[in-house]
């Protein structure tokens, strides 16, 4: 067999390989972004925000260090868009999701935000030593229902929606922070809300004030 020097080379150029790799990586980052901005409800009815680390590793067939490298790349890519990659723990799993860096209105309506503010203010005022930090539903009712700001039915519906969206977890009589609330409002922001709410939560209604003074 003779060797022809002009025959086309089977080995591709290194520059081509590099371009292809880059293209594939960009494709992968796009898929990763789409996956991280999803949510689903598991069999227990708990809202999972983002994706579990184990799921990501299995889907991408990479180890932990490879995943961290990929996520770092994604973090750099989305930072100029005002987005941030967040890692958090839910039970035994580590999850990743994406949140905004700046204050923008979310998917809640005004009354729902107000109820959320009351919950945050009341829990922040409660003792910090007891964990989990929780309050009775009755405390919120005194502020909202007894003062005539919401009806009991409205409050109940709003609380149910907040539970559905993962902001709070609720037992028969008590309310605690859900995972999503702690992601969206970090400790500093919660304290700021508690401080700002003193004017709004102080005192009784105007009619009662007139009677007393």
């Amino acid at each position: 067999m003779t060797t022809d020097p002009n025959a086309p080379n089977d080995v591709p150029d290194p520059s081509d390989v590099k371009e292809e790799e880059e293209f594939e990586e960009r494709h992968l980052l796009g898929q990763l972004f789409a996956a991280l901005t999803a949510r689903y409800r598991n069999e227990e009815g708990q809202l999972n925000i983002g994706v579990k680390r184990q799921d990501l590793q299995e889907a991408l067939h990479i180890n932990k260090t490879g995943l961290t490298r990929l996520l770092d790349l994604l973090r750099q890519e989305i930072a100029p868009l005002g987005l941030e990659l967040v890692e958090y723990r839910l039970g035994r799993d580590t999850l990743y999701c994406i949140r905004t860096l700046y204050g923008v209105p979310g998917e809640l309506s005004d009354p729902e935000y107000a109820v959320l503010g009351v919950i945050i203010a009341t829990i922040e005022r409660a003792s910090k030593t007891k964990r989990p930090r929780r309050i009775a539903t009755k405390d919120i009712e005194t502020v909202l229902v007894a003062r005539g700001r919401l009806s009991r039915y409205q409050l109940d519906r709003i609380l149910r929606r907040l539970v559905e969206l993962g902001y709070i977890t609720r037992t028969a009589r008590r309310i605690t922070y859900g995972p999503r609330l702690e992601l969206e409002f970090d400790a500093e922001r919660r304290e700021a809300i508690a401080n700002a709410s003193t004017i709004y939560l102080a005192g009784a209604t105007a009619t009662q004030e007139g009677d007393k003074l």
Binding site: A38, R39, I199, A202, E209
Partner: protein, 265 residues
Amino acid sequence: MLSNETSTYLRAFPRRKAWYETFQHNYKRNRLTPFGTKRITITLWNLTKKYEGALKQKDIIPVKEAEIDREEVADAYRILETPWERNLDGRFYHTLATMQHHRDSHLAAPELAPEEWIIHFAEEVKRRATPLMFLVNRERSVPHFSLPDTDNPVTMSEAPTRDDQQAMKQHQVPFSEVSIDSLDTLRNTLHKRLQGKRFKYSELSDHLTNWELDLLSQMIRDNIIPALFDKNSVKFLSKHKEPSANATFAAVAIEAKKYAEVRRR
């Protein structure tokens, strides 16, 4: 009670001075409380409980009443000695100050209507939020890793554009608006125009409008206007003439060029 001479005298004798001071202290104490500290302690306790209860109920005690209470126990610090009594004194002043703060903040609170209160308070919370981002605002019941792989994404060029949709919408005619009598007359006029003539397929759309073509296809289907189809042309026969027995089934698609409204009555 010490005269000026006594004080100059006592300056030379510090120990005696100390004795005099103790005497003075005890004298004042006895003057304030002929029955010891018991009475003032009870008053303090009652007032502290009153303010703590009011704070718990979020009631407001007016300034006048609070000032009278304060004056009543203002001198108590002179005679209270045991730690328990001094703690009680401190507790009373703490509740008094908290009540003052509560009252002030309440007076400063704007009198908002419930709806306004909700809007304003929601703003306070909203501007501090850093919401999570979701591409789709509805959760799935299945985790996305359990879903089957998608095909290649559909390109937008294949989908109907907005212009197409608008054109389709514009020339839609609801047939319920056309009465049956007028439909018959329309059929007859169309039949008279086409009877016994031969048209090329390409020419047909030049002669007829969109709704006339629609009507024509219905009439051919129902055999009201029998037609003979060739390779390039169609011939419309008169009403009574039967088409040839071995006519082959043919389908011709003609796109309308003229668009017009149906005449209604």
